[in-house]
């Protein structure tokens, strides 16, 4: 719509056709710029005031034709305000005003008593003489302007011409004002429509979103009720999801079959439907009638031609919904459908992401002697199925697993959850690696054709300095030796899990010397649309060469190989067996549960010093007894710690355990064997109790030199 001139812009036009000086002055005063900000009602009142002043009349009135063109309706009056208040209507052709319009000419009534007057108010007010002219703009009759006097008056031709000129200008002003305000109303409607979906909606939950959409839509269409029904999964039922004015729909979880009733037909036929009279219409939902809804308009919620649901509005008084109303509601529905679709997708994605985040272990329950680092990077615009897990397995071993579940979203996340639980359960049950994978494979097969995953399953034994590897349709693990040289382990040849129930998986052992690092990853790291997997593998190998710190390796790989917006998600897990230090020192919480960890470190240290199995065992037991005493006897409840220091000099192992409490004497029978055991196992046992705690020094020579 092109903008029409405002009344203020019309002022010069009106002023350009003067009749005499006083009229010109009066009109100029009336049509000043203040008029621009007036509503149509105020404009008409202002025009009447000016006109009756110019002509010196007691009354003045403007009647405008309605949409049908058959009725005149009093729109503004001065001196006979009852005309407007009583919403007087006059048929075209009837009475004084009706004849003016029908004959498109001015009519003068010198004596009202002798005239054909349709409107009783004129007589009741005591009007004696009248003059009226048609309001014509661009050849079109808009209505009637008439003036009257309470005393008899003979209106002259001059009066008639003056009123006609004033009427012409008024008609022009009214016509433009109507256009102007119609345009402004349309613009406001457009703005309201844009508000149907503004940025603020992005932060709402789906439920809040639907309710907000209904509020805005029923405000724009001035409806009493509004409701959104969404198509259920399966596509056969519409379910009320949000309602305004008919909240019972949602509370009672109203479901409408596709094709049935008002909403059902809108969805089935994918088109707008108007019901002028609810009482005589095919309505499936009794709530609509019970609430007293009289007229309804409904449109489909469409995304790319696909029906998502139905949006309908209703009124408690009969209403003729126009074509404009229908278009407006469809526009609103189109925007609402987009917002709903977006909210549904992002809600599903949020849910799946949250699930996946929970499935990936946040903190790896580490085991002594293995350093672990993990990373997970989601794809930039889709949800992937990559996962990893790491958990301690029996004394001193750790399982590392990485896989890529086929598919995306909630389904893949659910498969991942089952897979991870099953893998842990079978592994902790004590099954050997190949069998763990075979059992998981059979489970995946049973879960159905969509349950498939690749897998690299690795059991790391830091004491044995070895790993057991099973791969299933997964890229090869990378190993970095103590010398920094990186290379890939051979695949063990298994197919992806869930493909066939009879697949066999064999674990292949490899040595993993102290100081080595092993890395598992998913294909997103080495393969992309622009990079063949061989190139990716070579880049990763080059990058990992000479790398010794797991966290640093993850960072370097992320920085160099992961694009800013990865198309595929990426998971990686890196484990390193740190080299055994010359001297073992550390502080641990005084908690029984750390004894196993300390034992593991000490055992490896003793072996690295060249202790025989027997010597290592004896020293281990004695040291552990000292640690156990610190844990059990030194402290009351609370967080305390003990220190351990093991060193080897000139064939002599010295283990010092220091706590910061006071040993209680042993309690109960069958206690107090710790000290005698230490003394039996070591060459020297020195226990010193001081104010600052207890220090136990244990010494024993090794019979052979360090390896």
């Amino acid at each position: 719509m092109t903008r029409s001139p405002s009344p203020a812009e019309l002022a010069p036009i009106i002023a350009a056709v003067p009749t005499d000086e006083s009229v010109l002055a009066a009109l100029q005063r009336v049509t000043d710029s203040a008029l621009a900000f007036m509503s149509e009602d105020d404009l008409l009142a202002e025009l009447l005031a000016r006109i009756s002043e110019i002509l010196g009349t007691d009354t003045a009135a403007i009647l405008l034709l309605d949409e049908s063109g058959e009725l005149l309706r009093a729109r503004a009056a001065k001196g006979i305000e009852e005309e407007v208040e009583q919403r007087v209507t006059i048929p075209v052709g009837k009475g004084f005003a009706g004849r003016i319009v029908a004959q498109r000419r001015a009519i003068v009534i010198d004596d009202i008593d002798k005239a054909d007057i349709y409107n009783p108010i004129l007589r009741q007010k005591g009007i004696r003489s009248m003059l009226g002219v048609p309001l014509v703009s661009e050849g079109r009759v808009l209505g009637v302007l008439h003036v009257g006097t309470l005393t008899p008056r003979r209106f002259t031709d001059e009066d008639r011409d003056l009123l006609q000129r004033a009427g012409d200008r008024a008609a022009l002003a009214i016509d433009h004002a109507q256009l102007y305000f119609a345009e402004r109303a349309a613009r406001q409607q457009l703005e309201a429509l844009q508000q149907v979906t503004d940025a603020a909606l992005a932060y709402l939950s789906q439920e809040e979103l639907l309710n907000e959409l209904l509020d805005r839509i029923s405000a724009i269409l001035r409806s009493d009720t509004a409701a959104i029904l969404m198509l259920e999964e399966g596509g056969r039922l519409l379910r009320a999801r949000a309602a305004k004015g008919i909240e019972e729909e949602v509370e009672q979880r109203v479901a409408i079959p596709i094709g049935k009733g008002f909403a059902g037909r809108i969805a089935a036929e994918s088109r707008a439907i108007v019901i002028e009279d609810v009482d005589h219409a095919d309505i499936a939902n009794p709530i609509l009638r019970e609430k007293g809804i009289r007229s309804m308009l409904g449109v489909p919620l469409l995304i790319e031609g696909r029906v998502l649901g139905v949006l309908h509005v209703g009124t408690l008084t009969p209403r003729h919904f126009t074509e404009e109303d229908r278009d407006l509601l469809q526009h609103a529905a189109d925007r609402a459908a987009l917002a709903i679709e977006h909210a549904q997708l992002s809600e599903q994605r949020r849910l799946a992401e949250a699930l996946q985040r929970r499935l990936l272990p946040r903190r790896i329950a580490g085991i002594p002697g293995v350093e672990v680092a993990t990373r997970y990077m989601p794809a930039s615009d889709s949800l992937g199925g990559d996962w990893y897990d790491a958990f301690a397995l029996g004394p001193g071993r750790i399982v590392l697993a990485v896989g890529d579940v086929v598919g995306h979203g909630l389904g893949a996340a659910a498969i991942m959850a089952q897979l991870r639980t099953a893998l842990r359960a079978y592994a902790i049950d004590g099954h050997p690696p190949g069998e763990v994978v075979e059992r998981v494979n059979r489970l995946m097969w049973q879960l159905g054709p969509t349950a498939m995953t690749t897998l690299a399953y690795l059991v790391v034994d830091p004491m044995g300095e070895s790993i057991d590897l099973v791969t299933a349709g997964h890229p090869p693990p990378l190993v970095i030796g103590p010398d920094g040289e990186a290379g890939y382990l051979p695949l063990t040849g298994g197919v992806a899990l869930g493909v066939t129930p009879t697949a066999r998986y064999t674990a292949v052992p490899h040595a993993l010397r102290l100081g080595s690092t092993v890395m598992l990853y998913t294909d997103g790291l080495v393969e992309s649309r622009v990079q063949p997997i061989d190139t990716g593998l070579e880049r990763l190998r080059g990058l990992a060469s000479g790398s010794f710190d797991p966290e640093a390796l993850c960072d370097a790989v992320t920085a160099d190989l992961v694009p800013e917006r990865p198309a595929d998600d990426i998971a990686m897990i890196v484990a390193r067996l740190p080299a055994v230090p010359e001297r073992l020192t550390g502080t641990w919480p005084a908690d029984k549960d750390v004894l196993g960890d300390v034992r593991m470190l000490l055992r490896r240290w003793l072996r690295a010093r060249g202790a025989s199995e027997e010597e290592a065992y004896d020293i281990l037991v004695a040291s552990q007894e000292a640690c156990a005493n610190a844990v059990e006897h030194a402290y009351g409840p609370g967080v305390r710690s003990f220190d351990l220091d093991a060193r080897y000099e000139a064939g002599l192992v010295t283990v010092t355990v220091r706590d910061h409490g006071h040993w209680r004497p042993p309690r109960g029978t069958n206690r107090g064997r710790g000290l005698p055991m230490m003394e039996a196992l070591m060459e020297r046992v020195d226990v010193a109790h001081t104010d600052k705690g207890t220090v136990v020094v244990l010494e024993r020579h090794l019979t052979r030199k360090a390896a």
């Binding site: 004394p395 029984k592 196993g596 027997e614 065992y617 281990l620 064997r673 055991m677």
Partner: protein
Amino acid sequence: MSWLARVVEAWQDDDVAVAAVEGEIDSSNVGEIAERVRAMVTNRSMALVVDLAETTYIDSAGINLLFTLGAELKDRQQRMLLVVAPGSGIARMLSITGLDAEVPTHPTREAALAAAG
């Protein structure tokens, strides 16, 4: 049960219970192991065989448990037998603490069961 050790249970003729402890026994898990093993012994049991062949570590807490179990069974006219690999660290601990003088030990489970029957 912590991941340090697990107890594998077996019975022979209902009246001999065999508890095989695989893994490591220390003060962190000795309570759980004691509970599991005690639950295996009923009034009808003639004997309890504690199989330490797959035990890789035992400290004084574990030794204390074995002393206690032996005494409890003796009070109920039931017997306890141990299976220990000769020359192992476990065997040395039993020797150092004198447990092997209190409780009969056998090199294999078969030998222990034969002695129990």
